[in-house]
C-alpha cells in the first residue's frame, strides 16, 4: 500500500487545551485498545484517540484520531503494540505505525501526529491544560 500522508498544517506537539477538560470516565476506555473522543480547542472541536494500557509504566495516551495516510478518522481503532521499544498504534487502514508518546510515524519521518497530555483524576479522564 503506498498511501502518502496529507501534510498537516504544523500543530505544535503537545499543544495545550485552553484549560483542563474532562473527556470521559475510566469505564469508557477499553483496556489495551483505543476509543475516540471530542476535544474542544480554541480552533474548534478536534477528534482525538485515547489509549489505555493498564499496569504499564504509562497507562494513558492521547493522540490525533485523524490518519493522514487514509485521510479518515480511524486511529483509535488501530491495534496497540510495541515496536523496537516504542509503544505504538498501527493505522487500521494502511498499517503505518505511530509512536503514542510523541505521534512520530515510524515509516515516514516527515509525518508526526499531534499528541496531548492526559491523566486520571479519580474515575475521570482529564486532558491537561
Amino acid at each position: 500500500m503506498t498511501a502518502t500522508a496529507m501534510k498537516h498544517a504544523p500543530f505544535t506537539q503537545s499543544r495545550k487545551a485552553p484549560t483542563g477538560q474532562k473527556l470521559c470516565s475510566r469505564t469508557d476506555l477499553v483496556a489495551f485498545s483505543g476509543v475516540a473522543a471530542w476535544l474542544e480547542t480554541s480552533q474548534g472541536a478536534k477528534q482525538i484517540a485515547l489509549f489505555y494500557l493498564p499496569g504499564h509504566e504509562r497507562e494513558l495516551y492521547a493522540i490525533d484520531h485523524h490518519d493522514p495516510f487514509s485521510n479518515a478518522n480511524v486511529i483509535a481503532h488501530g491495534i496497540v503494540g510495541d515496536i523496537k521499544g516504542a509503544t505504538v498504534v498501527a493505522s487500521p487502514l494502511y498499517k503505518q505505525h505511530f509512536r503514542l508518546e510523541d505521534g512520530q510515524c515510524l515509516e515516514d519521518e516527515s509525518v508526526k501526529l499531534p499528541t496531548w497530555k492526559v491523566s486520571f483524576k479519580g474515575a475521570d479522564v482529564w486532558i491537561e491544560g
Binding site: 476506555l29 473522543a37 481503532h77 521499544g85
Partner: protein, 836 residues
Amino acid sequence: MSTTSKRNVVIIGNGMVGHHLVEQLVENGALAQMNVTVFGEERHRAYDRVHLSEYFKGRDAEALALCDADYYASHGVTFNSSEAVVSIDRVEKTVSTERGHYAYDHLVLATGSYPFVPPIPGNDREGCLVYRTLDDLDAIRDAAQSAATGVVVGGGLLGLEAANALRGLNLETAVIEFAPRLMPMQVDAEGGELLREKIEALGVQVLTERATQRIEDGEASRHRMVFQDDKILETDLIVFSAGIRPRDQLARECGLEVGERGGVVINDQCQTSDPAILAIGEVALWSKSIFGLVAPGYQMAKTALSTLTGGDTSFAGADMSTKLKLLGVDVGSIGDAHGNQNPGARMFRYLDPLTQIYRKMVVSSDGKKLLGAMLVGDNSVYDTLLQYYANGIELPKEPASLILPQSGAAPALGPDALPETAMICSCHNVTKASICAAIDAGASDLGAVKSDTRASTGCGGCASLLKSVVDHELAARGVAVDKSICEHFQHTRQELYDIVRVEGIKTFSELIEKHGASGTHHLGCDICKPAVGSILASCFNEPITDAAHIPLQDTNDTFMANMQKNGTYSVVPRIAGGEITPDKLVVLGQVAQKYGLYSKITGGQRIDLFGARLEDLPDIWGELIAAGFETGHAYGKSLRTVKSCVGSTWCRYGVQDSVGMAIKLENRYKGLRAPHKIKFGVSGCTRECAEAQSKDIGIIATENGWNLYVCGNGGMRPRHAELFATDLDDEALYRTIDRFLMFYVRTADRLQRTSVWRENLEGGLNYLKEVILDDSLGMGKELERQMQTVVDNYQCEWAGAISDPDKLKRFRSYVNDSRPNPSIIMTSERGQLRPA
C-alpha cells in the same frame, strides 16, 4: 492473408514434446516469423501422459490437458486433432492426411512411440490391450467391467504402473516378466527380489522367466495364456507393456535415416538426415540412444526452437536417472546403475531385509566419483546421490556412509556443496545458478522462486532439494530465514498454535507472559496480536468480542464489519448457500433504506450493505437478527461463503442437491477462524456452474456422491483446485473436510491462503492425501475432535454483542459525544449513496 513472408512449420504429433515445442514457439515470439500447423492423431489435445494413470483416479481428460482448450487458436496456431499424417513428400515438401495435402518449409516429427506387442499368436484377441493413451485407458476401463482378473505382460516400469491401475479397477492382478526379475533395466537381482516381495505383499502376483507362447480361449476366464513350459494362466484381460518402439514409419517411408533398431537419427540440432525435417521426443535417435522420458524430450523441443529460429542451442544428451514410486514402492536409478558400463568400477551394497530397503552405489575405481546408483524401497538419499553423480562431486572418504542408515536424517549434501551448474529441476532445466539469479533479481521466498523459474512445477520431484537451495541462498544473502512471527515471539505461527493447544493457553497476555521474547514491553503488535487472536479462536472459539480478545482484533474484527476507505463499515449477513426467502430479502431492503446503505450483490452469493456508521451497527444488526439473520463473518479470516448452483432440485442436469449440501457445509463451518479466509463451492454436476474448482474447497456432485477438490483460488493468482477424493458420501465428505481444514489451520502461516500453503507444503498433494485420507500421522481423529469443538462452540458474534451493554459501548464513534463523525460525506450515484 499476407502469409507469403512467413515460413510454414508443420508439427506431426501433439504429444507432450510436440506441445512443448508449440509452447516454446509461443513464449519466444517465434510465431511472428512462421505459420504453425499441428497434426494430432489422437482426438484429445496434448495431455500429461506422465500422469496418465491418474485418469483412473478421477482426473479427467480436461484436467490432464497441458493447456486450455483455446490456447492454440488464441495464438494463431492451427491445430488439427484426429488427423494423422499418412505420408511425407520430401521433394514437393508436403505432408498428406486423409483430408488433404499441406505444404511445409520445415517439418517436425514428434510422433512419440507405440507400445510393443510381442508377436504371440492370439495377441489381437478382444480384451488384449495396451497402456499409452487416454483411449487405451477407456478401453481398459470398459473391459474391466466384465472382468475379474487381469494380467500385465511386462514387468518394467510401465508394466508395474499398469498393474497398479488394474488393481485399482478391482481386478485380481498378475505381472508376467520374461526376464528373471522385475524392472530388469533399472535393478539387479537383489533389488529385483526385494521389489518382488514388496509387490507380492500388495496382492499382485509376480511371475518371472515366463515367455508366453500363445493366447487362446480360456475355460474359467476369457483367455488362457500358455507359457514355454506349457504351464497356463487364465485371465479376463491382458495389457501388453513389453517396451516401446519409436513411431518412425513415416520417416522410413520417405527415406530418412533411421537407426538399426528404430528411431529417426538426429544431430545435435535435432535435424534428421534431411535438414528441413527435425525430430524430437521419443521418436528421435540421438547418438544411438532413444530417450524414453519427458525431460530429454523437452530439451529437444528447446533445441528445435533454436534451430527453427536460427539460434545455436544444441542437444547434448540427457541424464536418464529416474526416481519413481511404483505401487507405492520407491525405486531410484542413477547413471550406470548396473555398473556394467565402467570397467573397474566398485560396488557398495546395503540390504536391509527387515525394512526392505536396498541401496547400491557404483563408484569409480579410485573411490572418488559416483558413477551410478540403484535404490529400492526408499528414495530418501536419491537427491543427494544424484547431485554427487551429476556434478562429479568428490565422494566422502567413506563413500558407504552415503547409503548406510543414519541415526538422524539422510546425509544430505549441503546446498553450498553444489556447483552453480548443478541441475535442480530437470523438467524445466533450472540450475542452481538460475535460482541464484532469480533471488538476486528480487525473489525473496520459495513461492517467488518457483513462479519466476518454474522450478519444481513439473514432476515435482525436486521440491525438497529446491527448498534447501532457496533457504540456503536466502540465508547466504542475509535474508533472514528467521521464521519468527515478529519481534514478540521467536516462534512460527504453527509453533504458537501447538503451544496454545498443548498448554491450553486461552489469552494473549498469558501466552506472551510465558512465551514472549525478552526485551519487549509485551504489548504485542499488529502482526502477532491478530495471529494469536485467530489461533485462540480456532482452538477454543470463544467470542472475539470478549474483553481479553478485543485488543487482538483488526478493526474489522473488533467492530464485526468491514471498514471502508472513508471510515464507514459494511454489513454482510450470512445467506447460507445463497438461498434466501423473499421475507428476508424484504428485510434487507428495508434496513438498507432506513440506514441509507448502498447495496450490492457479492460474488459469494450474498448481499453487501455499505456505508454504515459505527454507531448504527448495533441497531442495524438488531433488526437483522430479529428477522433471523446472523453474522456472515465477511470481516474475519474465516469461512466466508459456500457458493452453490441450483442443483438437482431445479436443474435438469443435476445429480445431487447441491444447495442442500452447501447450506449444511456453510452451517457446519461458519465461525471457523483460520489463517486466512476460506471459500467453498458446491456444484450439482460436472458442468460446474458454481465454479467450485476455483475455491479453497470445491465439491462436485457425482452419480455416487461427491468429488472433493482442494486448494483452489480465484483472485490475483488463480489456481485450479486439485482433485482430492472421489465419490464420498455425506459423512465421509464432512470428515475429510474437517481434517483438511483443521490441518490447514494448524500448519499454515498467517495470512496464507490454502493455495499458497499447498504450494509450499513439502511433499505436495500426495503428502496431504497421506495425512488426511490415509491418516499417516495418526492425527485424523484429533483433527476431527478439534473441528467438533469449534462447531459446538459456535455462537453468532453479533447476537452476543447486541445483548451485552458493555460490548455495545464499543460502537460509539466518540465516548463523550453522540454527534456523528462529520468527515463522512456521501453523494449519490445511480440511485444510491456512495462516498464523496
